[in-house]
């Protein structure tokens, strides 16, 4: 009888309450019903509470006047601007900190991670100490420490450390001169972009030539010359305008020039140092996971340690490194929201002020969530694309 039923499942009669498909749907219906009920319960309560407390809803407030100052903004902003613009300013600041943080943390983390594998025992131990020190203490504590050190240990603007009447270091930040605005600057920016594009093309061509003829091409130096040279050429062609805007002490603070604020410095420093400790561990374990034969073969070919690292080990380790690195990049982006604790005006800080002024918590929290989700998803999408590109192509 048992033999008969094998291979003829259509004969097997199952009661509906034992049919896995039906059971699956019933089970899902119950769970979705429960979640739906919870959602309905929360929404009705919220609607009731909002009506009772006379809190407006909707996004109309975005076009109202914000009325609060923002200390650091990449686009022009004044308190007379709208809430929407204030939030945009915060968003741009978040992107600025996250972008710079990712770049610096990657560089520093890779150096420390490679340093941990150094044949020099002392250097390896120092790098290990660095990693343990930064990894095992909350990021927020580092931020407070750096911020308080800068704002309390440095002198006030009147006693600012003065370097050649150009650099002023005080507890208001680092003031330094910048070239006064000139119509040539956008063209120099274009030149920079063209230089970068040229360097990429040159690098490809150099690689192809090396593959075809075996002759190496110094594409790094040539590329660097292009990237630096083109903007300088344009600057010279434009008559070399050298009018500068100098910082000057007026009243209680400096005017003119530009400033790197202590909040920004502390935030970037904290994010970079903290995250680089994690990145160092990722890089180290990526390199360690490689077969020892790889470094031995590289040495047998006569490559120096630096060459072996750059040409043989790191490219292969990259495949193991990229996925965990993605989550570190997401962490930097999310951790940049700690800015609020030391008073740097990032997205969360702007939105938080907006919540306090308008009372519209739900809409504003939604803005934060959508903003971070879209940034996170873009970073993941980019890193997944990159990961696919460098993946081992097996035949």
């Amino acid at each position: 009888m048992a033999v008969e039923s094998i291979g003829s499942p259509q004969h097997a009669k199952i009661a509906p309450w034992n049919d896995p498909v039906i059971r699956g749907w019933v089970f899902q219906a119950v769970v979705v019903g429960l979640v739906g009920f919870l959602a309905w319960f929360l929404v009705t309560n919220t609607v009731e509470n909002l009506a009772r407390q006379k809190i407006a809803s909707g996004y109309a407030y975005l076009s109202h006047e914000a009325g609060f100052e923002i200390g650091d903004s990449m686009i022009s902003y004044s308190p007379a601007n709208t809430y929407a613009r204030a939030i945009l300013v915060g968003m741009l600041n978040t992107l600025k900190v996250a972008g710079l943080g990712i770049i610096f943390a990657t560089i520093l983390g890779t150096l420390i991670g490679v340093g941990r594998l150094s044949p020099n025992w002392l250097l390896a131990k120092i790098c290990e100490g660095y990693v343990e020190a930064f990894r095992n203490v909350p990021l927020l504590l580092w931020l407070f420490l750096f911020y308080k050190m800068i704002s309390e240990a440095f002198p006030g603007p009147r006693q600012a450390l003065n370097v050649l009447n150009a650099l002023f270091l005080s507890n208001r930040g680092l003031y330094f001169p910048v070239p006064a605005a000139d119509p040539i600057h956008p063209w120099m920016g274009l030149g920079l972009l063209a230089g970068i594009a040229g360097a990429v093309v040159l690098h490809r061509w150099g690689k192809q030539r090396q593959a075809a003829t075996g002759k190496p091409f110094p594409s790094i130096w040539a590329g660097a010359a292009l990237i630096v040279g083109l903007p300088i050429l344009i600057w010279l062609a434009g008559g070399a305008p050298h009018h500068m805007s100098w910082p000057e002490l007026k009243g209680f603070n400096f005017v003119g020039g530009t400033v790197i604020q202590p909040e920004f410095t502390a935030l970037l420093l904290g994010l970079v140092l903290y995250t680089s400790a994690f990145i160092a561990e990722i890089v180290r374990s990526g390199i360690l996971a490689l077969n020892k034969g790889q470094s031995e073969a590289a040495a047998a070919l006569g490559l120096s340690r630096a060459q072996a690292m750059r040409l043989v080990l790191l490219p292969q380790a990259l495949r193991l490194i990229v996925p965990p690195m993605t989550s570190q990049y997401l962490n930097i982006t999310k951790n940049s929201s700690l800015a609020i604790a030391i008073g740097y005006p990032d997205l969360v800080a702007s939105v938080n002020v907006t919540i306090n002024q308008t009372g519209q918590a739900i809409e504003n929290v939604l803005i934060i969530m959508v903003a971070y989700l879209s940034v996170s998803l873009s970073i993941s999408a980019f890193m997944n694309w990159y990961n696919k590109r460098i993946a081992l192509r097996e035949r």
Binding site: V32, N45, N120, P138, L145, S337, V365, Y372
Partner: protein, 404 residues
């Protein structure tokens, strides 16, 4: 000597690096020892006496009780102290592999009861709560032990759940009188007065403890074949992991009161705990998913072939193996949360970092942030470093069976 040559002076470049590093270390160390020990001020009536000297450890000496225990009534400070010790004992005992059985349940019950009794000072248990607990424990026991317990044991669990249901029903219709079992050996201290190390430890430990079952459910849901359940779980996990903890904390502090029926309020501390639990559960779910994915497919198929139900397969075959694999990464997650609890200071809860921060506000002692933060960093470091070492040890220990 041979070691020196091989590890420090193997080549010219290496030798130069070593010498430069040694000089740098010597310079830094001499500066630090001078600042932190030789010219440091250990006791002083106020910050004024520290000016012009090295480290002002007198500030720590003056403020350490506030930093550790926050605004808890001063003469009652022994209570948070013993609560911290109870939690430490609980955690250290759970780290011992010989305790990984029924004893764990006792350790955590006794440890938690002691902790909260000491912190609150008294515990009020209403009759409804007792019946509700009986229902949850009875139903849980009956389900979890369904396949392994003896019939008598299962019936005992069922009876417990039955008592719970009956009691709740009687309470609801009003036949059973309301009463509150009150254990009150000490004076009541509300959560707004809690602060310092116990707050950090409670948020991290109990946040993770409650997030753990939620994380298991989410991980199982994410690997389920049922499309609706799967998309719900994936949506929740990715949503939470995509936003910063701060946004959840802000949500918990300003939005949660709006979500509840009018008149119902939740304690601020509890709200932060809810945010931490939701946040942690998404991350734990991903860790556990890693463990589930590491199991060979044969385990699932074999369990199906044995005719086990989904529930039996999961509790008897899959989870015991998957959870074993993820214990070390779970401890790393715990380290992360131990540090991340510091973010609750943004919504005004006095965790360890916040009390350290507040100690700086005193104008009598203004101007010594370095000392306070170094001290706080040292405390955090002790916790996190020892946990990460334990996680490493456990990894090799648990892999002993599979390594050849």
């Amino acid at each position: 000597m041979g070691w020196l040559r091989q590890n420090l002076f193997s080549s010219w470049g290496n030798g130069i690096t070593t010498v430069v590093l040694l000089l740098a270390i010597a310079w830094l160390l001499s500066w630090f020892v001078d600042w932190a020990v030789l010219t440091a001020v250990w006791t002083a009536p106020s910050g004024q006496d520290c000016r012009g000297h090295g480290a002002c450890w007198a500030l720590i000496h003056e403020k350490y009780r506030y930093i550790f225990f926050g605004s808890f009534p001063y003469e009652q400070h022994w209570r948070p102290l013993f609560a911290v010790l109870a939690m430490l004992a609980m955690l250290i005992l759970s780290a011992d592999r010989r305790m990984w059985n029924k004893r764990l349940l006792w350790i955590w019950s006794i440890g938690s009861a002691t902790t909260f009794l000491l912190m609150f000072g008294q515990i009020n248990i209403s009759s409804s709560l007792i019946f509700f607990l009986a229902l949850v424990i009875g139903a849980g026991g009956a389900v979890l032990r369904a396949t392994v317990g003896s019939p008598i044991e299962i019936n005992a669990w069922r009876a417990l759940a039955g008592i719970g249901v009956a009691g709740l029903a009687l309470r609801l219709v009003g036949l059973f009188p309301a009463f509150t079992l009150s254990i009150a050996p000490f004076s009541y201290v509300e959560t707004s007065l809690w602060g310092g190390l116990p707050v950090t430890m409670i948020l991290a430990t109990y946040g993770l403890l409650f997030a753990f079952p939620l994380g298991i459910l989410l991980a199982l849901g994410r690997r389920s074949n049922l499309p609706l359940i799967k998309s719900l779980c994936v949506g929740f996990i990715e949503l939470i992991r995509g936003v910063p903890l701060i946004s959840l904390l802000i949500m918990a502090s300003v939005m949660l009161p709006l979500f509840l029926p009018s008149g119902m309020t939740i304690d601020k501390f509890l709200r932060a705990l809810v945010a931490v639990i939701l946040f942690a559960s998404a991350y734990i779910a991903e860790v556990i998913r890693g463990g589930l994915q590491s199991l060979p497919k044969g385990q699932f198929e074999a369990a199906d072939a044995m005719g086990l139900t989904y529930f039996q397969k999961t509790t008897l075959v899959i989870l015991p193996q998957a959870l074993r694999v993820v214990i070390p990464p779970l401890i790393n997650t715990f380290i992360g949360f131990f540090k991340d609890t510091s973010l609750v200071l943004i919504i005004g809860i006095f965790d360890f970092l916040n009390t350290a921060n507040q100690a700086l506000v005193d104008p009598k002692w203004a101007g010594f942030p370095g000392e306070i933060y170094l001290f706080a960093a040292f405390v955090y470091f002790c916790f996190c470093f020892s946990m990460s070492r334990y996680s490493k040890y456990l990894e090799t220990e648990l892999n002993k069976g599979t390594r050849r």
